[in-house]
Amino acid sequence: MLKESDILKIVKEDMLRILGERKEKTPLGSIETGIKVFSSFVSEAIKCLKEEGLIRVEEKFVKLTQIGRDKAKDILRKHLILENYFKKTSNEKIAHRKAHILEHYISEEVIKNIKKICTLKEKGISLTKLKLHKESLIADITTPNSELFERMVSMGIFPGEEINITNKISNGVVVKIKNKKFALGKDIAKEIKVIK
């Protein structure tokens, strides 16, 4: 199980996002249905958010303060970036779900890079077409083999990370990702899409 403090953090962030997406006043009940956790967490989260000065509670309605609005914007931005990113690989509803969970647990750097990926229209070029020593970003890993995908992810080959070809060899490429070097065969390099 998640620790309570973690659940609280997620609930708080979700709540801010929902409030940010809606208009001025939001009825308490609609927040509870939107978040789908025990109402004890919701009331706990509301208490915390109120103490932190992010929301105001008026009778059965909740309203964001100015700081709360900024914070909500931040979370919404993260959510949109992720959602947009996942839209490329799946349908809209799934993209929403994926973004929904990842937004709480993703580093700013990856977010920044994913944003960069999303601002570009094209899906990126295959790594085999990249020139030597050109800093670029991994935009996508397109292999249909989920076992290979997992292996690459666990090695740190992940969308949003910076990649750089240091050597071209006849059977593939040698790349640098986060200070680590890898030899990738041609068949794998083809499945890695990068943007400059």
Binding site: H100, L102, I106, E150, M152, D187
Partner: protein
């Protein structure tokens, strides 16, 4: 006394072996993990009345990956009770280490993170707040440096106080659909000691090995239907896991700009330079080939040198006892001793020194570069780059080489590589080719035997590739930075790898020698000449040569001596150059000897081993017969 079993887990080259060395100290008691395919080292030491057994697992990136190394680690994790796991983490790439640590936590095994390479990370401007990490994950985190022994005692302290730790550790929260699926599967899991959440995740990650824990496999289909929004649920699981890991890593890492004078340009540039040379299109392969040939030439030379000394010793030993040279016991004894000398002269240079070279290459960081360069050629034969290690070892002795195929990730590929030892001349076969063919037929003839073996091997490999259908392995290999190797680690590793050979192969070589001696002395060997006449006729060889051909299978090193004893010392008179050449091929093609057959049985089972041995020998004999017929046409 209290007993604890601690697992060391980490990526390749993260410093697990060095840590083990640091933990255990000089009195390393190492042994192989029983019944596994990849080497797992265990070592025990007593710390304040607690006997701690450390299990060093093979380097892996994830426990969800389905390679042999992962399976071994999984076995070590779940088959016997493990008290605790030490995840050795790399401070220079924390995300990856955390990815695995999170998996271990999912398996609900008490975990300690030992953070290595902290100084290296600081040199790169990466500062890690280990206290915050410990708080976030709610597990102990220790900064270590196995070379300076920093943090080692504290680590032991933490491990031995394991029972007193309380509180839940961090868990990843997946997307609510996935969480729902996890709950659904969890309710369908049989009684087992493995945590249900972990099993459920592995089932979602499509690891079929975990389907056996399900009460009803139909739950998989049900869950898949309800996960219509997640067509690639396995990928989503790993994305969330990595996302969580990088999220945590970011929260505890600070990147500080480096002062100019601290920037490690010099050594970094040297590293890049070496790689630039090693990965140059033609030079890379050339250097790799040259390196391997040099190593091998050295081994060949040392092998001969040691064998000569030992043979001299044997002779003087026998004459010291003044045994009549032709007495029955003496003949049997001589053959047995030949086996012993052959064993030692193979074990010392080929096996031990080979592994010493290999271990050094591995620890320096060169081995992975060589594997990349070798992959280019081996891929054409349907093999992965790694198989160059057993193949090179096969030039020394096929028996440890067959065992070394374990480093390859699939059984099919292991078998494919092992089948090539039918054509890789081992040191005893090189001795036949050089000592018999080369000596009596000239060096050109000896080289044509090598060339013929090579061609026969290529044809075989292509043929096998066609029938075995090995899923072509992709090249995906991390290239570690070049490092100074730890001699002690390499020596220990080499000894472990050689131990099998000393305890199993050498006694068998002696027995094989004695068996040959007995068969010879009792005159039994003469009875096989008549019935096997078709073979010698097909090969166009004198009928008596069947004796060294057949009995060579018991003890390859005796082939030469037996040929001399059946044909007399004037071989060049008894056989034409073409016959010498044919004999050379016939006695060096096919699975070399009964000990190799035994090792094949051990690794691949009786049926496969027998089929391979018979097929390769028949193929070899057919090939040898065909070749001399074709050659004599011209």
């Amino acid at each position: 006394m209290r007993k604890l079993k601690i697992l060391l887990i980490g990526q390749p080259n993260v410093g697990k072996s060095s840590l083990l060395n640091g933990l255990i100290g000089s009195r390393v008691i190492v042994s192989n993990y029983p019944g596994t395919t990849v080497e797992v080292i265990q070592a025990e030491k007593i710390f304040n009345n607690t006997k701690i057994k450390f299990v060093d697992t093979p380097g892996i990136y994830s426990i969800s990956d389905r390679s042999e190394e992962e399976k071994v680690t999984e076995k070590a994790l779940f088959e016997e009770k493990v008290d605790e796991a030490i995840v050795v983490a790399d401070a220079t790439s924390l995300e990856r280490s955390l990815y695995m640590a999170l998996q271990i936590l999912e398996a609900e095994i008490p975990t300690v993170i030992a953070l290595n390479f902290v100084r290296e990370a600081e040199k790169k401007g990466i500062k890690i707040d280990s206290k915050k990490l410990a708080k976030l994950l709610n597990i102990p985190v220790m900064l270590i440096n196995p070379l300076t022994k920093r943090g080692i005692n504290e680590l032991v302290d933490i491990i031995s106080r394991i029972k007193k730790r309380k509180g839940r550790s961090f868990k990843i929260k997946y997307d609510d659909h996935i969480e729902e699926a996890i709950n659904k599967i969890s309710s369908q899991i049989k009684e087992t000691s493995i945590p249900t959440r972990f099993i459920a995740l592995r089932v979602l990650e499509e690891d079929e090995d975990f389907y056996k824990y399900l009460k009803d496999k139909r739950v998989i289909e049900e869950v898949k239907e309800s996960l219509a929004e997640h067509p690639k649920v396995a990928e989503n699981v790993s994305i969330t896991r990595y996302g969580t890991a990088s999220f945590i890593a970011e929260r505890i890492t600070k990147i500080v700009p480096l002062e100019k004078r601290l920037q490690p340009y010099g050594s970094l540039r040297l590293q890049e330079k070496i790689d630039d040379i090693l990965f140059r299109k033609i030079w890379g392969s050339f250097i790799t080939g040259l390196f391997i040939l040099t190593i091998f030439g050295t081994l060949l030379y040392l092998g001969n040198f040691i064998q000569n000394i030992l043979m001299d010793l044997t002779e003087s030993f026998l004459s010291f006892f003044g045994t009549a040279e032709h007495s029955i016991t003496a003949m049997i004894l001589v053959q047995g001793l030949t086996g012993l000398t052959a064993g030692i002269s193979v074990a010392l240079p080929y096996v031990f020194l080979f592994y010493l070279f290999l271990g050094s290459l591995e620890d320096i960081g060169l081995l992975s570069r060589f594997i990349v360069n070798a992959e280019r050629f081996l891929k054409k034969l349907g093999l992965s780059g790694k198989s160059f290690i057993p193949l090179a070892l096969g030039l020394g002795c096929s028996v440890p080489a067959i065992r070394a195929t374990r480093i390859l990730s699939s059984k099919k590929e292991q078998f494919h590589t092992a089948s090539l030892f039918a054509f890789t001349p081992c040191s005893s076969r090189i001795a036949i080719i050089m000592g018999i063919v080369g000596f009596y037929g000239g060096i050109k003839l000896a080289f044509s035997v090598f060339a013929t073996l090579f061609v026969a091997g290529l044809i075989w490999a292509f043929f096998i590739k066609k029938i075995v259908h090995i899923k072509s392995k992709y090249l995906l290999l991390e290239l570690p930075p070049y490092r100074k190797p730890l001699i002690k680690n390499i020596l220990a590793k080499s000894w472990i790898r050689m131990k099998d050979f000393v305890y199993i192969v050498i006694p068998l070589l002696i027995l094989g020698g004695i068996a040959c001696g007995i068969l010879n002395v009792t005159g039994f060997s003469k009875y096989i000449v008549e019935p096997l006449l078709p073979i010698t006729t097909w090969l166009g060889l004198p009928a008596m040569t069947i004796i060294p051909l057949v009995f060579g299978f018991l003890q390859r090193d005796l082939t030469g001596a037996m040929l001399l004893s059946v044909l007399g010392s004037k071989i060049s008179l008894a056989m034409t150059p073409l016959q010498i050449y044919t004999f050379g091929i016939a006695s060096t093609i096919g699975i070399p000897c009964i000990i190799a057959l035994g090792m094949l049985i051990k690794e691949f089972g009786f049926k496969k081993a027998i089929v391979l041995t018979i097929t390769s020998i028949v193929y070899g004999l057919l090939f040898a017969g065909l070749v001399w017929r074709i050659v004599s046409l011209f």
